[in-house]
């Protein structure tokens, strides 16, 4: 098999897997810090109980995010050495800053938070969790500085056979970052909100002792969830409008729009023939795409075939069309789930305000399943973002086949691909096992750390 395909597959596996854990870390850290602050301010034990309960789940998830993040720091060099050489002058900087500014902060203060319950004052202990939350979210900012450069390269010159940074500030003020960062930040909060809603709903149905705590958690999550979900949708909309300007091919692929149209219709449902670039069956809503792209009922949205011609003139011969079906369907999965979550969270908040939560057991039974929704939406969103940029790794600068490591063979890639997949698979089972166990156990039973067997463990060496 072609090493390029294997390298891409490996990046997809390790990065998608890593991002299963990141959004919950981003959002739940804020949630736990908020609960602990309420505890410090009011002194009510119910907040402490909830801080500890959500803290347990946070820690299990955080560990997975941290260790899978290690791979991210090194795999550009491993599989994408030509890429690293070509843009390292720019791309390396945000990664180093991320480590220095964010990773140290979150890891050190999380250590202090876990082990410091009776070593620090209450206020200082809560502050440690805020620093973890700030660290995690700053880390997201810097990795998105790097990622935004890949989508919209700014602040560089081509010199010495590579891209070199010539304006650090324009990396930080990359327009792409301003539409992407809020979207990611809010999807983290959305993920946490639905996580909390789902598990709280489970406990509200079960009438456990800590019912009161879960009711409070549910209320906070419903409010946070509404704001975050709305914000995700709005920032997603502005991101899409920005993409129409800077990466029109991605939007054309996401809409399966073969030819430029003015006014452009939005696809409601398309079955296409990707090889021949035509529709087999399509229902389209007239003018809707122009409306979404430009906030008015007309305006040309460029189609795939027109853009292909344009790009060939600009960049020379080649295939500039990203995988259309993947772009089209991931876009729909993401947007569809986004609106589903909005509807549910509005309904949930409506019930909370009307104090009718207990009269809606069907919603409470449905919510635990909906924990999966933000995970699917996050994954779909990233697949769209990254696959839709193909064949470019850095838009307009370097193509994927030019970026791969020349010395890494298919055999090496198979080894690591299979290795990572197996290890990640086993860890996922352990992670879900622990999350389920502690999520179902409730706040009062099952201490987090359990004494082990008393009897000596057979030693591997003598005294």
């Amino acid at each position: 098999m072609d090493p390029l395909i294997l390298a891409r597959l490996q990046f997809a596996v390790t990065t998608i897997y890593h991002f299963f854990f990141v959004p919950l870390t981003l959002g739940l850290s804020i949630f736990v810090a908020l609960l602990e602050t309420l505890y410090v301010r009011t002194g009510k034990t119910v907040y402490k109980e909830m801080t500890k309960f959500w803290g347990k789940l946070f820690l299990i998830n955080f560990a997975m995010g941290v260790v899978t993040g290690i791979v991210q720091e090194f795999q550009f060099g491993m599989n994408w050495s030509e890429y690293s050489r070509y843009v390292g002058d720019i791309f390396g900087a945000p990664l180093a800053i991320e480590a220095l500014l964010a990773f140290f902060l979150e890891s050190t203060f999380l250590g202090i938070w876990i082990f410091g319950w009776d070593k620090l004052s209450k206020g200082a202990h809560a502050a440690a969790m805020w620093l973890v939350a700030i660290g995690s979210n700053i880390s997201a900012l810097w990795i998105l500085v790097a990622n935004s450069f890949m989508h919209e390269p700014v602040g560089f010159v081509l010199r010495n056979g590579r891209a070199e940074m010539d304006d650090f500030l324009s990396l930080l003020f990359n327009p792409h970052l301003f539409v992407q960062f809020p979207h990611v930040l809010m999807s983290g909060l959305t993920t946490a909100a639905f996580f909390v809603l789902g598990i709280s709903a489970y406990h509200l149905l079960r009438q456990g002792e800590s019912r009161h705590g879960f009711r409070i958690s549910f209320q906070i999550a419903a409010i946070v969830g509404l704001v975050a979900t709305l914000w995700v949708i709005m920032s997603g909309h502005s991101q899409a409008q920005h993409i129409v300007q800077v990466q029109p091919m991605k939007m054309a692929a996401a809409e399966a729009l073969w030819e430029s149209e003015d006014p452009a219709p939005m696809s409601l449902f398309t079955i296409g023939n990707e090889a021949e670039r035509r529709d087999v069956f399509a229902i389209r809503l007239p003018r809707a795409l122009s409306l979404l792209a430009y906030n008015q009922l007309e305006g040309e949205v460029k189609g795939i075939n027109n853009l292909q011609v344009e790009y060939e003139q600009e960049y020379g011969p080649g295939d500039y069309v990203p995988p259309v079906a993947i772009s089209y369907w991931t876009f729909r999965i993401m947007v569809g789930l986004g609106f589903l979550m909005l509807a549910v969270v509005v309904y949930a908040l409506f019930l909370v305000v009307g104090e009718q939560l207990d009269a809606a057991p069907r919603l409470l039974r449905f919510l635990p399943w909906l924990i999966l929704a933000p995970y699917l939406a996050n994954t779909a969103g990233w697949i769209l973002t990254e696959v839709g940029r193909m064949p470019w790794v850095v838009y307009g600068l370097i193509r994927v086949e030019e970026a791969v490591s020349p010395t890494v063979t298919a055999g090496m890639l198979w080894t690591t691909l299979i290795g990572f997949t197996l290890v990640y698979g086993v860890l996922m089972i352990a992670d879900i096992y622990l999350l389920r166990k502690f999520a179902r156990a409730g706040a009062e039973d099952t201490p987090f750390l359990q004494p082990g067997p008393e009897e000596p463990i057979p030693s591997i060496v003598g005294d």
């Binding site: 299990i60 050190t108 290795g419």
Partner: protein, 337 residues
Amino acid sequence: MDLNILWFILIAVLYTGFFVLEGFDFGVGILLPILGRTDQERRVVINTIGPHWDGNEVWLLTAGGATFAAMPHWYATLFSGFYLPLFLILVALIVRGVAFEFRSKDRHPIWRRIWDGCIFVGSLLPALLFGVAFANLARGVPIDAEMNYVGGFWNLLNPYALLVGIMLVVGFTLHGANFLTMKTDGEMRERARRVAWRLWPIVVVLLAATFIFTYQQTDIVHQLGINPGMIPVLAGLTILAEGYLIRKERDGWAFTFSVLTVILTSATYFLIMYPRVMVSSLNPEYSLTIYNAASSPYTLRIMSIVAAVLVPIVLLYQGWSYWVFRERLTTHSELEY
């Protein structure tokens, strides 16, 4: 001094910091099944590094990020070249990190046994492979005119590299034993001290052997001269003093000298390399240096400002976290892991 030299020093400091801090973490992990005879004792062992292991590991991530930012060709050649060893290191660090967090969260003995195994292997393997990697960096590996490593996997496992790897495994285990002697009390403290005392002569022999073979295998004579200067000599003196301090039960000082040995040994390797960052065994012209592997002066300037601001702050709060958790642990302590 130009910024290229500054960044060579900074990257050397980051790797050295990683070896000092994660070095005793690895040692503690390797000693886990040896010193922890009951589950509670194992928890004590793990809890001594509980608040710190993750922050210590960030030194490696920062070293990787700094290499990428300041010396992108070094980053590209090293990690695409030392591909499978790096993969093994990553897998080891992944299972080890998860194991710390997961092992005490279920009481089933097999669950705990598996994660303890992950901690042991996940500590031993990276120690070995980092030794192999750095030995090869200094010894030289086949790098072609395009800056690509063309040597394959087995080429890395030469006897000299394996010697340095084993030296690092045993050395870190001693470092960890010193740390445990300092961080625990009662029976565990005595046990850790006994292990340190037994390991010490082995480390002395391995370090001496490494020293001798370094003269044969690297161009240290050309780089540092027959008399290599103070740093390697001090590395030898500190390891000798360490034995005396272990014997005299000066826990804090023994650990301090253990730290010094790690720093001086690591510094020696970077001195042998300087100003190269990867030595080519095919042609000295092909070696990567702090100049031909580096980022542009502009990027180096930006990163220097960033580092000057952030590194002191990081050192301050990480140091503070060690101060917060300065108490010795026993089986009666409140344990979180």
